[in-house]
Point group: C2
Chain length 125, copies 2
Amino acid sequence: MTTFFNSTQPIYLQIISRVLLAIAKGELPPGGKISPVRDMAANFKVNPNTMQKSLAKLEEMGYLYTEGTNGRYVTKNVELIENLKTSLPAEITANYIAEMLDCGMPRDEISDYVSYAIKGGEKNG
Amino acid sequence: MTTFFNSTQPIYLQIISRVLLAIAKGELPPGGKISPVRDMAANFKVNPNTMQKSLAKLEEMGYLYTEGTNGRYVTKNVELIENLKTSLPAEITANYIAEMLDCGMPRDEISDYVSYAIKGGEKNG
DNA sequence: GCTGTTGTATTATTCGAATAATACAATCGA
DNA sequence: TCGATTGTATTATTCGAATAATACAACAGC
């Protein structure tokens, strides 16, 4: 069914994450026009209302803005976007470290563990 | 309100994670009796039904078992628990690496990034 | 002016999570 | 035996997420 999402988190939040990522990676450039709500809903295979909800939240956060009935655009606030580029991986990493500490892993062994996992302990696409 | 949980994931799943962690860390030793449903519900400040749901799932998974009306216990299957000890951090790490790659971070820079974050880039309790 | 596209709003329905309030069955201990 | 404790089951209600089906307002292009 939902090819894009997992079930443990609301879809609209997962959409927000994906759009933020696209903005951070420059796939959605500053000032660039994004697809209409209905199209994005179709692409993500979700209900237009769900898509609308996600985009409205992103607008609240300042990452998107609406130009009347003309369409929706990515913010031109490049500082906000630069900030996103650094804060996204930072948050993910801070979260990861917290989880590992919670697991009982000593702080000074975590990065070694990551090294090991990357080099061959696990198979990562 | 919910001092223990965040809102982006169902509480009963978060409880499951916490119990698994406690088992892996040995805080709940193999064969050890755990608190009654009602007590655990009170401790976690959730509804007894929610607690019951989590414990039932953990039982399905084989980590707990019920002795009639006597109480609930942690499995004596130490191999299962040993497996948990390694698989928990492995899964967390695999997930983390996938997220970082998704962010566009080169594979060979991830562990350095973690090192940096641990040593002082971030403040971690 | 008309039509299509855009964002937005509204109402209703379904579903699962969570809570509440009980009730029941089985065992243990006094 | 009696009562407390245990796990379990049942029914109802509330809430948010998600979907469905529309409807409306505003602008662009013909």
